[in-house]
């Protein structure tokens, strides 16, 4: 219980730091008044009202108080481009991103861990070399480039997948046909993301397994005469899974921000696409909101990872 409390306090501290940093970056390091003035989508009266509402001519400390109050009540400014509240836009985009990155994380963790076990339990064999080198190559590859190659080969040339978007444009789909259409569009980005995430799971599982295989209890289990696969499944893999649990929890934090380039490439209407549109339009409130939401997600995931490990690993829980 004390561990939970102290770890939660640390997470809270990080959150406060994010808020302060966010404020300084956007209100002090840049010139929000100038950004509003430059925004020709707003009438001069609207510009004036916005500057007044955000207290941009008040002293810095008053501005900070207004900012914290607004943020805590979920008022994240209005997007310059769409004129809608930033939080509404993020909330609409979030499920799409979670569908993409969530499924990719699950797939990558399952396949990657399995490949890591294969490689780690057969160190030095051809399959180990192939898996390890393959992971290194995947790790060194920009995800979006892998996506471009896949679009060219699998979507444009063979036509096995749609090249982008969430549904067929113009099609009025309902019910099951809508779900199928979305899944067809999601398949290729999910495959690309899975391949992008795969490498780290392979590497971490392989090295954890190598460490565990050298432990005394594994030697004992083998000496007692247990068959190889039982030693592996019942003794080694179980213990080697801890770093993977941490990695999964950490990656879940990046669910929100993890697919920026892939979403942009596939015109998938998630947080990443929102980010790219905000970059193009210089939509500072939007970027600020996205940054805040992604940070909160990561901080929360870190806390969960910490607590999960504390729960799973008695060595940390006790000592």
């Amino acid at each position: 219980m004390r561990v939970v409390l102290s770890k939660s306090l640390v997470a809270l501290g990080t959150l406060v730091f994010v808020l302060v940093f966010n404020f300084f970056l956007f209100r002090v390091a840049s010139d929000p008044e100038l950004d509003i003035r430059r925004n020709n989508r707003l009438t001069p009266q609207q510009q004036e009202a916005l500057i007044e509402e955000r207290g941009l001519r008040e002293p810095v400390f008053t501005q900070f108080r207004i900012y914290i109050g607004d943020t805590l009540t979920g008022d994240f400014d209005t997007s310059y481009t769409s004129g809608r509240p930033v939080l509404t836009e993020i909330r609409e985009a979030l499920p799409n991103t979670i569908l993409l990155v969530g499924s990719a994380t699950v797939l990558a963790a399952l396949i990657g861990t399995w490949l890591g076990v294969v490689a780690g339990s057969r160190r030095g064999t051809t399959s180990d070399t192939v898996i390890t080198q393959g992971s290194l190559i995947l790790y060194s590859m920009p995800e979006f480039w892998l996506g471009m190659v896949m679009i060219w080969l699998l979507a444009s040339t063979i036509g096995a997948f749609p090249t982008g978007l969430k549904t067929d444009p113009g099609a009025d789909l309902t019910g099951l046909s809508y779900v199928i259409n979305v899944l067809q569009h999601a398949a290729l980005p999910i495959i690309v993301l899975t391949l992008g995430l795969l490498g780290q799971y392979v590497v971490i599982m392989r090295s954890a397994l190598t460490d565990v295989m050298n432990e005394d209890f594994v030697t004992t289990a083998r000496a007692v005469g247990l068959p190889r696969h039982r030693v592996l499944r019942g003794h080694a893999v179980r213990n080697a899974l801890l770093p993977t649990v941490t990695l999964i929890a950490l990656n879940l934090g990046f669910v929100v921000s993890g697919a920026i380039t892939i979403e942009a490439l596939f015109s998938w209407p998630g947080i990443g696409q929102l980010t790219v549109e905000a970059i193009d339009a210089n939509d500072i409130p939007m970027l600020q909101g996205i940054f805040l939401v992604t940070s909160v997600a990561v901080i929360f995931a870190n806390l969960v990872a910490d607590l999960a490990i504390t729960y799973l690993d008695p060595r940390i829980r006790v000592g």
Partner: protein, 320 residues
Amino acid sequence: MATRGKEPLAPQTTAILAGSKGVFGRLSTSASRSFHLIVKSKSGLIGLVILAFFTLIAIFGPLIAPQDPMASSSYSSDILAPPSTAHWLGTDNIGRDVLSELLYGARISMIVGFAAALVSAVIGSLVGISAGYFGGWTERILTVIDDWFLVIPFLPLAIVLSQVLDDWAKSAPFGSTLVLIVVIGLTGWAGTSRIIRSQVLSVKERMFIERAQALGASHAWIIRRQILPNVLPLIFANTVLIIAIAILTESTLSFLGLGDPNKFSWGGMLNAANDSGAMALGAWWFFIPPGVCIVLVVISFTMVGYAIEEIVNPKLRERK
């Protein structure tokens, strides 16, 4: 590991300690010794050869390029033409020679990668050494900042930073490139500082530091003459690994349109290829070569980095 009077030192670390040259003299001794050891490992050697090749291209590329893709004379009506004897790697969406762009692009990608990794290494070492050496509140505060940079989603942070620095970037001569370097450097130092700090913590406990303190040496002297030489090999290994990440990040930011629009980089080429629909048109010569270059350079830096890490960290060597 049991606590012993002396931890096993990597051979070149001992050599550095014995040497009486300045920090840079010692670094070069360590670098040349490392070089021999890297060449001995097969993947390290392959990595070095590929890197030497791309470094030459980054330096001489613009001289051997068939045309200057920056010049308006390079535009032609020969749009997205497949590879031919006139254009070995075909042409891009406004009729420029892709091979020339690739050769010009090497320079920006390598410069940004190196410079950003250097920024990361300097910040990471300063923070890591201060935190490890001074301890107490300095360490606590620096660790909180460090933790925060480790935790924060790094691509959104880089995007946000480069957007905020955008006005400034447009006014300075190499503004956009500098912003890329600063942004990638600022977002990538946390891991380095973490590793350096733990190394400093172990070095600090050794006898010779205590001896120097007892003899009245200043903090600056101890850090410069005794701490720094002991952590330099580690900083070096880490920096090489960070270059790989920095080059990947550069390509990602350029792909998102945050690079310098007036300069060629591999990520920028991929951005142009995507915007012009090269995949739908089957113009593979426009996006395959830059991607292959990025992958080759990143893999090489990673392989060389691992090779150096193995030399610096004897524990890794025993495992093999």
